[in-house]
Amino acid sequence: MSGLSRRQMLGSLAAGGAALALPAIVRAGAGSARVVIVGGGFGGATAARYLKRHAPQLQVTLVEPAPRFHTCPFSNLYLAGLRSWDSLGHGFEGLRAAGVEVIHARAEDVDARRRNVRLSTGQTLGWDRLVLSPGVDMRWDALAGYDEAASQLAPHAWKAGPQTQLLRRQMEAMEDGGSFVMVIPDNPFRCPPGPYERAAMVAHYFKRHKPRSKILLLDAKDNFSKKGLFQQGWKALYGDMIEWVGLADDGRVTRVDAGTLTVETAFGQIHKAAVLNVIPPQKAGLIAERAGVVDASGWVPVKAENFETRQVAGIYALGDATLAAPMPKSAFVANTQAKLAAATIAADLLGQAPPAALFTNTCYSLIGPDYGISVAGVYGAAEGRIVERPGSGGVSPGTADAAFRAAEAAHGASWYAAICADIWGAG
């Protein structure tokens, strides 16, 4: 419902009009409205905090299984040995202090008609608005030989958690001179620069501990985020330790044998790994499917102006699960999408005019401890589509001195502290 029509309805209410025709929220006041948010990551936790900030009288409930949320951003630094595991974890006390009800459970099903969500605890929560920020699930049927069992031998480590720790243990156990093979999917996938930062962070570890080792990147595409900057940085810091093979050079992997740690490419080349890291194709988290908001692509189409899903009114979706190109699937954009959606939902429930859409993105990638690069972008909504603002965005300069690269490395660490404080901090 638009702000205008709500104001018209409120006007008719004030005039003693058809009060019974109004939604319960408006009749009883926004204080009785409940917003349920599924997912305590960069999208969901941001939405919860900012809904409370915009409309303290709302009942805001966040559903997240993990008592501490470990972030994918900076998990490559953990692989490198530059960050502790604990430093990636964020609890929910700050959100509770901000008035958010946090329930540690898994959301298992959504009834869009009755407007409720069923949890793994058996509890059912009613909602006036539902926000889904479930992140990604792996498509276990998309790459021959790579299913959930195979990921215990050849980890994806593309959700921060036990998979990430398993990959680190495998790196530690690997003998010097071994081959670390990474399988990289075609677009779209979570964190477009992530695989290439990971290559650098694995190289950082190898250079110090296993200098005769090699890193082979088998990629299903010919171009990737910040490609020129990554290749320049790899060369500068790690010589020829990292070899990238794109689609045109038979980089696309079509079969995985996790038992023997071998992969086969489209043209039949076999590569044997000592450590095999397979990042498979992905889709929106399962609860989005259960809610009926995904399309045939496996992702969630959303309205560009507010991130309400196109399939179901009253259900919003955020972050990596959504179809939001040309925005990347990044933590930063999940956060700015959440801020727009939270302001929109609060305005809607309070009978105010909605905000204008604007999204920003900044992604830092670390190539070495003192070598950072970045990509940025600004996006708006026009005629129902997300559009990059003309003239905005782009990557770090190709030619820059060591001080510039060191500054961007420091800025990356500063970004992580700031955004985590914004989302999970004491506030």
């Binding site: 604007l358 965005g393 700031a418 914004d422």
Partner: protein, 110 residues
């Protein structure tokens, strides 16, 4: 009546209201919810309420005129042309920059 004689009293009255620093009279003030959404991107690096503790400088509570001038300089490529700030500000119009300068001058809240 000459145009100049109409403009001068208007400027004078703006100044007397303490609004002379508010920027060009043409700038339309953005609604608070829209300003909040805009500012939401900034705090991801500059910290809650713009009060970062790390290598990225704090912006909360700085002088509004300084913030406006600096943001415009980034946008126009006159300050740190290779930086993230230049790439970001090129996506913002004058009204948006105005709203951000006000927002963070007030301490990062509405």
């Amino acid at each position: 009546m000459q145009p100049s004689s109409r403009v001068a009293p208007a400027l004078l009255s703006l100044a007397s209201l303490g609004l002379a620093l508010a920027g060009p009279a043409a700038a339309a003030e953005l609604p608070a919810t829209t300003a909040a959404v805009l500012a939401g991107g900034c705090v991801n690096c500059h910290g809650p309420d713009g009060r970062a503790q790390g290598a990225i400088p704090p912006i909360g509570g700085l002088d509004e005129g300084y913030l406006r001038a600096r943001l415009l300089a980034f946008r126009d490529g006159r300050d740190a042309p290779g930086s993230v700030m230049t790439r970001l500000m090129k996506g913002h119009d004058t009204d948006q920059i105005e709203a951000l300068a006000k927002w963070f001058a007030r301490g990062g809240t509405r």
